[in-house]
């Protein structure tokens, strides 16, 4: 029994291993995301940087790797590919390649374009007076494109898989890529949903309702796993935790005045949103309702997401602000070098000025339903993606 099962398992593993260009795109997407989180930590802990910080290199490695791998794939498929190679591709100005590869190439070019633009911007208007600037938006679009490209590549593999193939590696990788996109939501929304101190104000729930259901629901519809949204949520939380645990190990000294908080190591990102619970709710709802009633399903998904998310975050945030979370595991109570430390660290911000009222929750629920509906549309498209 054992002797016959082993070669079969090996064969399945071989078949499941993603092609080299998919692996490259996934490494690129990961590298860019690690770089972004590292860079934010760098700015919160050290303050000054050059182009050559490891965080920046990780970001640009993502661009270069995805661009070169997918560029080579396109050239090879166009000029040296056989009919089978070219079958699962889309045309682009006479060249052939998978849609995901084209999106990665576009992202790499956008990232490369942002570099001279950003350099000029610094020389003209000063060093990053604001994080959100036109060249940074071009860079962010490039990074997202690489991550989306990686997602499209694994989805097309998943969707071309024959029904009798048992390996689910490509689907798990798709869930992982959705987790990277969830990380993007955390990064962009760091001022609204990043810190546990924000979890008792209305904007927190409205922003989360806008960004999160779209991705979890799209995963639920487009990824062929029994628990796709939950898998994506687990990957999202694991990604955050690894970053929290690793970054804290790196020594760092603030190098920009004024230094109000003399930190000694890199400040980790905030503890992730506990998305496992709302993701479970989404998976359960999608398993029960099926594919026939998407409008009704979005209503259910939006309400299920918001209800479970709000209950979990409301109380878990109280734990995170308490003394038991101020340790290496949770990484809480670690603040920027430029912060003047005070009792605000342990209080809920804007809880009075922007309270969580029934009407605020109703708005959040509407946003969540809309987000879920878009997620279903996108998920349906993802489920059809073959090339």
């Amino acid at each position: 029994m054992t002797t016959t099962a082993l070669p079969a398992a090996r064969a399945a593993t071989r078949a499941a291993a993603p092609p080299w260009y998919v692996a490259a795109a996934l490494v690129a997407a990961t590298s860019a995301k690690v770089g972004v989180i590292w860079d934010i930590s760098w700015h919160r802990s050290i303050g000054r940087d050059t182009f050559w910080t490891p965080a920046h290199l990780a970001i640009y490695l993502g661009g270069v790797l995805a661009g070169l791998a997918c560029g080579w794939l396109v050239l090879r498929t166009t000029f040296a590919g056989d009919r089978e190679d070219r079958a699962a591709t889309v045309g682009f100005w006479g060249f052939r390649g998978p849609l995901g590869a084209w999106v990665c190439i576009w992202g790499a070019l956008a990232m490369i374009s942002s570099a001279p633009f950003d350099n000029w911007w610094h020389n003209a208007y000063g060093l990053d007076v604001k994080v959100l600037s036109p060249p940074h938006v071009v860079l962010a679009l490039g990074i997202w494109a690489i991550q989306l490209g990686a997602l499209f590549l694994v989805l097309s593999l998943q969707n071309r898989r024959s029904p009798d193939e048992t390996s689910r590696v490509d689907s798990v990788l798709a869930a992982y890529t959705i987790a990277i996109l969830l990380q993007n939501v955390s990064t962009i929304g760091i001022e609204q949903i990043g810190f546990a101190n924000l979890a008792h104000n209305a904007i927190y729930y409205q922003v989360a309702a806008g960004g999160v259901p779209l991705l979890l629901v799209a995963a639920g519809r487009g990824i062929r796993l029994r628990w796709p949204a939950t898998t994506a949520a687990v990957c999202y939380m694991a990604f955050s935790l690894v970053m929290i645990w690793v970054l804290q190990l790196a020594p760092a000294t603030p190098k920009l005045a004024p230094v109000f908080n003399p930190v000694t190591h890199l400040i980790p990102p905030p503890f992730p949103l506990v998305l496992i619970v709302p993701a479970l709710a989404i998976d359960l709802a999608m398993q029960r309702v099926g594919r026939k009633h998407d409008w009704l399903l979005s209503l259910l998904l939006g309400v299920a997401f918001l209800g479970s998310f709000a209950v979990v975050q409301w109380f878990f945030a109280e734990f995170l602000l308490g003394p038991h979370a101020r340790n290496y595991f949770f990484g809480m109570d670690q603040w920027d070098y430029s912060s003047r430390l005070g009792p605000w660290r342990y209080s809920f911000w804007r809880a009075q000025s922007n309270p969580v009222t029934p009407s605020a929750l109703a708005i959040a629920a509407l946003i969540a339903v809309a987000s879920a509906r878009i997620g279903l549309w996108w998920g349906n498209w993802m489920a059809r993606l073959r090339r």
Partner: protein, 503 residues
Amino acid sequence: MKVLGALIALVAFAHVGSPDTYFEGAAGPYPVRVIVRSPGVVPGLAQITVRLLSPQGARRVLVLPVYSDPRTAAPPPPDVAQRVPGDSTLYSAALWLMTRGSYGVQVTVEGAAGSGTALVPVMAVATSRLALDKPLGAVLLALGVFLFAGAVTLIGAAVRESGLEPGAAPDPRRTLRARVAMGVAAVVLALALLGGRAWWNRVDAAYRTGLYQPLHATTTVRTAGGARVLRLAIDDTSWADPKRQSTPLVPDHGHLMHLFLVGDSTLDPFAHLHPLPLDSITFETDLPPLRPGRYRVYADIVHENGFAQTLVSSVDVPSAGGAWRPSDPDDAWSEGFEGSGDVRRLADGSTMTWDRGHTPIVVDQEAPLRFTVTDPAGRPAALEPFMGMAGHLMLTRDDGAVFVHLHPAGTVSLAAAETFALRELGDTVRGRLSARMTAIEKGSGERGAVPAGAILMPASRSLSFPYAFPKPGHYRLWVQVKRAGRILTGTFDAQVREPTTGR
């Protein structure tokens, strides 16, 4: 565009049209010359170079910019300046100037003779807006067009082919849908680009309104009792309104204001005056017997936070009336010059010589501003401190785009350096430091006294000013010294060249 060019030319701080800082002084036992090249933007990276002027070897050179706000907590550790390859006495580093205002840059030299620190005041202001040059603009435009067309093509490909089974060809319906999607995508992306452009324009407009401009001043001359009285009013809304007034003024070499008049057409008539304050806005002084005409007015002031600036104005001076009674014993004026070449005959019969050598003066390269004064008998003249300094040098380009007031210590204001040296944690209250500085000056018994060790009578009889001209063109220089109680002015002309390209 022309208007903008003029705006940029006019902006100035602590001098006009000369944004870099030059300093020569002592870091403990080590004489140093420090140059800080302004980045022109804030936040920005200023380049600092430190030249050791003595043969004593240094182990290392540290630089640390400290912001003027005393509430600022502990500064970050200083940066180690790197030795410039091929030059054993030159060190260089980048200064991170993150906030607009004044910084005291601590330059510390460590070596065999111990450790010493010099304090160099540096103003961080946005003075220029970099234009997008054509090659870079063309590259960015090309990349932008490529990304735009690429994104529209991608959307078309996604709709047309990405959902098809491998090998299948798109039917006409899919192709049509792809075309519609591309059209919609093009419109949406174009709108996004327009939004981006509006955003960029907003950032640009906000940046331009934040460009530094000196406080606005208006100068008038009236005749009173036969004398001509010049009045300068700092009538800027940010100064005249006491609630918005940033920080009070502090005396520099014993005077709250150093005012310079330069004849607008010939540059010949020149005066260095010290108007007295009637209140915090209005300053007055009696005019020396300058010929009537239009004059450029430059007024140097230093704020309590160490921010030094030059106010720029102009005034029509009517014809002379009665005799001149100087409002201040340090007031001086001159008209034209006697002498030829690099030698000038001064008012008391002594001679001032500019030891400029034969090398041309080039933009951004250290200028040979060395002068010697000899008495009528041809011996080196004994000079006295003039407002705490061995000498003062004023220079201007003929069109007024540059005006600088220099000392042997460089372009820095000593009062600004004092504000950093004397600052205490309790000086968050406005006016406290300025009151203490004024008391110290009064207590010292001598007007224009500066802290011990800060001056600057040269060991040799020659005067030297560290400086590099910022722009090419024709310049007029006035060198002022004091001998036997008399203020003497030597006037010179200089032609400054563009650097030749390439090495």
